[in-house]
Symmetry: D2
Subunit: 376 residues, 4 copies
């Protein structure tokens, strides 16, 4: 069989950001029938319905699977994963792909992996072997055990995948595809960014020329009962600094609901004129924004990966990114008002770090596409 059918499962916005550069190349390959299977928060308006962007970018969305069971307890992650298994399995049966691609470590990707593995369809895992401090950590290594091929970011990740018992023949170091988007972001014009911000902020005009902080914080699933307090702590300490703040919505992990509540509570009780709330920006536009920011405050892996490449100062809070290799652009702090404030002030004084290629040098998409093309 010359033609291969490849099914790429995308369950959330960051997964798409990371695979987009590879998809562009794969979609031009005549030997490959490329289908995207979307589920989870990729379909939800609250998270910017990334599926619409995928279609607008010209990729074929094979099906949309509504799998996300709303709620703010840990059981919701289990129920959503169960739905992901059932509906993905049904879609895989109908499409009968030769390979399935799953990306990174969100909890619901384990559903994709179980369906693929149990149905004996070879599974390609992108970004395995990394380390962090969350349910992600468990999911990532579990997905590795269910996968057949491992396309990893760097030598460290390759070693970890190998030590989990996977054969070196099936491990490929491709670099992290998020770095491709970081490189791409450099070349976006400020007009595009200004336009996107306007769409989100409406009449509440944001001046990119003034210094600003970007806040992007997700729940720690192992401590999700702290989510309200953590979010509230952060917002209130930021009111004490004389700087504009762009606040992004948290993701759908358990605890995110409490974060939303903290946001609502904060909006009603505190002076808001330096705060701007953003529902959704496309990945590369978001990175362009970061390049103009004074620093990123939060616990997203964006701070560890893309910001390393772009040299953006980062204050990384709490345990969520524990153990992940990092460049020197990151200051790690605990959930403590004074530590966080001090770190922000320090980073504001620095402004920019040199580029690091710890997570690749912006050709991961090419390499991923090339490995996938070579598999049979």
């Amino acid at each position: 069989m010359l033609n291969k059918t490849i099914c790429v499962a995308i369950t959330a916005r960051p997964s798409y950001s990371r695979i987009r550069s590879a998809l562009s190349i794969l979609s031009k390959n005549k030997n490959i029938n490329l289908h995207i299977l979307c589920s989870g928060s990729a379909l939800l308006n609250r998270y910017g319905r990334i599926v619409d962007y995928i279609q607008r970018d010209g990729f074929h969305v094979y099906d949309e699977l509504y799998t996300y069971v709303e709620g703010d307890e840990s059981i919701n992650m289990a129920l959503t994963t169960a739905n992901t298994i059932s509906l993905s399995a049904q879609a895989f049966k109908k499409l009968a792909p030769d390979f399935i691609v799953t990306i990174a470590d969100r909890y619901e990707t384990l559903g994709t992996a179980v369906a693929a593995s149990y149905m004996n369809i070879p599974l390609i895992h992108i970004q395995g072997g990394e380390v962090s401090g969350n349910i992600d950590e468990v999911v990532r290594h579990t997905v590795t055990k269910l996968s057949d091929f491992h396309l990893v970011s760097n030598e460290y990740a390759a070693q970890r995948v190998h030590s989990l018992g996977e054969s070196l023949n099936n491990i490929f170091i491709t670099g992290c595809p998020s770095i491709d988007i970081a490189e791409e972001a450099k070349h976006i014009s400020q007009e595009v960014l200004t336009h996107s911000l306007q769409q989100q902020l409406g009449s509440h005009v944001f001046n990119l020329a003034e210094p600003f902080i970007v806040l992007l914080i997700h729940p720690e699933t192992n401590h999700h009962e702290e989510s309200f307090n953590n979010m509230f702590l952060l917002l209130t300490l930021l009111t004490k600094l004389d700087i504009n703040v762009l606040v992004f919505n948290p993701n759908v992990d358990s605890g995110s609901d409490s974060m939303w509540q903290a946001l609502e509570f904060f909006k009603k009780g505190y002076e808001q004129n330096r705060f701007y709330y953003i529902n959704n920006l496309e990945g590369h536009v978001f990175l362009k924004l970061l390049t103009l920011s004074s620093c990123l405050v939060g616990n997203s892996s964006v701070g560890i990966r893309e910001c390393a490449y772009l040299g953006i100062p980062v204050i990384n809070i709490g345990e969520r990114q524990n153990g992940r290799e990092r460049a020197n652009n990151v200051l790690d702090v605990a959930w403590d008002e004074y530590e966080i404030t001090a770190a922000i002030l320090q980073q504001l004084s620095i402004r920019h770090y040199p580029q690091s290629t710890l997570y690749g040098n912006a050709n991961a998409g090419e390499r991923i596409a090339s490995v996938i093309d070579s598999l049979s």
Copy 2:
């Protein structure tokens, strides 16, 4: 067996409002073990987690079932109903109740009814036999066909249930329990209302002494693609009237997401100083608020039932309440800017209607409790 185990399935805030007066009486009955099974939006923060109020009111919540599959397409109603069947069936098997009670006509209640019926557990349906213009209509009559006992609001409803083939022996006219809450609402102090509003509105103080309109609008599931436009039309026409507006969140029917988006869009682009947004008020506090309002604008059944009893002017828009018997407090209009505006102006000139007992005279809770006590 002298003791009866009764399981009351509650899937959304209005269901609880309607059954609360009966629950108070049943919970004091020594021959009855009363358990509440909560699911759907009754567990969701976005809809005010009514389950917490149920527990605070002293009722025993047997279990919480996360069933709501987030998304804004009609398939989400089907998927949520499927989850309701599976998880309710499992809970019914464990609890083994003698009777199950289901309330009204929300789409997911069909899941409760299928589980009960297929498991041969006698099902008591409250508020069957009414008429409206939505998926509710189909659901209501379908639940009737799966139910064993029918506790209805009035003679019209009893006739309709009977004409669907149900035996008169199993039909009981109890009045609509929402009227009980309406009566109760009259006796709530203005301080309680003021306090509740403050919790919701924070620093954005609302003056109850000035005239105001209440806006409560849900999607029409048969035309849910219109939801964005409808919501936006309403909000913008209200900007042209010189009166305060209290806006309540729509429910979780398909189309509600688009309504939320219309709300967000409106908030960013239009002058907001006469608009106040409320996430959640308890049922009786909400009715107290209505008694002080100039009129209710929307398409909720509250306008047809409770407002009839309370004599509150109502502008009822679109097809959602089609066919439901109504008192003269209601002006029916289409989704048309001029019709709606004219009707609002007319109702503002009237201020109050006489009490109607079309949906009961505030003793439905007692009657419902008494019928349930008598069943064996």
Copy 3:
């Protein structure tokens, strides 16, 4: 739109038998894209995987949905129905048919109906409005309430559907399609039958020239705890008659497992040389077999419908077919050894009844296809 996409949901063998004659005509209609969606026992080896016959007959199977949750309690009917909703809804979303067709009254067809109705896809129900004494009864009328078009067997059924509140404009009397198969069965050669029996019975040769009884018994879902005893009673009383018996497997309703156990128990403890066990025969071959039999013993609707047309003597046991109109070929008896034995002896003495057209005159397939073609 000239072309219509029609999706016919088939969940069990009898559904296919009943719709096959209409499918043959529809599949030749150039304006219709005809897709079959198979689920439930239609996919199971234990029930003869009817899906393979559907494909062999040249129809396009759009997808296979594994929905049947094995187990012998009433909860299994609820769980299977939940799966039917989820997976059917997903398939309907992908296929986007203009009409969905559902047949008769098996419990899991309610899942098809909920998915179609909630997704606003017009639903055509075949064989509504009849009466019987089982969960089927509830399911049939419930599916009627969720359906948009009703293609019924006779005037009685049309009246009942109308009295459930459905508009006469949407009710069509087509006759029962099972009668088409009965007519077809008359023309099957005895060789085909002999060959099919041989495949099922292997070395245990069955002589069609000797008189024989056919036993086809399903659980009564309202009394499924009696299933073991009922089956065992029947088998043992048949050992006392000096006649060959062909025993067919029960369906998947709750209680069928106990029937299987009774069968196993009987096989081990009793003289077997006059008993022959058949796993599966195609519908029309089964009817050919009936035409050669002395009588049918059981509680299947085949005895009421097809046997009326074919004039075959029937002993109908218990409540399962209560209320269904019947011709004079049927003797109704309770689950009582003496009643059943007496009725069998009486029917053995009669041998044949005149043809009845109570359920149609063998052109239902044509009429159904014609109504479906006319809908828009």
Copy 4:
């Protein structure tokens, strides 16, 4: 907290056999509230409804979860696992155990593990770290990655779990609990065995004094399309040997349906007087039977573990037990008629091997109970 609530998830007969000795001790521990959660084939009549034996043995069954989606394709394993996650998660939420115990490596146990892990409930895995050649292999290591504590059979298994990245502090060598049952089996009287066989075989009397072979074969999930042929090959080659054969039913893995079909086909076409079919024997009675047999033919892990301890000759066919450490009682052969026949003849000449303690020395139950007691 002094009292611990322990929930032991049992999804199939062998899981119960392996944990029974530990359950006996734990159930007498006053500090432990012991609950069994049954699902999968543990509830199915076709597999002997082991849940009834669990209750008869005096253990508390917290709930029964019907999760098994019948069908013979690989998708059924995925769908069943999805159900296991949903319903187990719901049960865990209601029971709120301090620890959950999962046993071995059946595919659906991954569902238990996902639910426990995502809900942050410490998970104890029994029998991790072993090696075999099937989906079991993947499941076993995947469950290890989701587990918190690992109670393993021997030093080899402990090493493997450690090399998967688990801390030595959380790994405990307890021996394999199946060896406890093997020891117990030695002390069962022949009367008990005779009685159990009679219940299964009815009038088809089996003479334990004559030499006999036991056949216990499961599908290879990686090659499940071969299942029919493999089963048929085995049965027909056994007809050529002049010895009685006791045939046991295969498990519910994908492919088992085809094995059942091969069995049915064989029963109809071949001389049966030396073949005896057994639906179900309790674990320890089955082992007693093995001690009297000439050899075990098949691919079950019983041949590798319990038979090593009992010194029973085993012919192990195919890849299913690949890589598992074995004692010298096992002859490994491919799916080849001549290889298998030769190996059987060789084992028939040997009759008995010395005891091996490779999988423990019959005190695993005690050790497991003691480790669980010590955890906090």
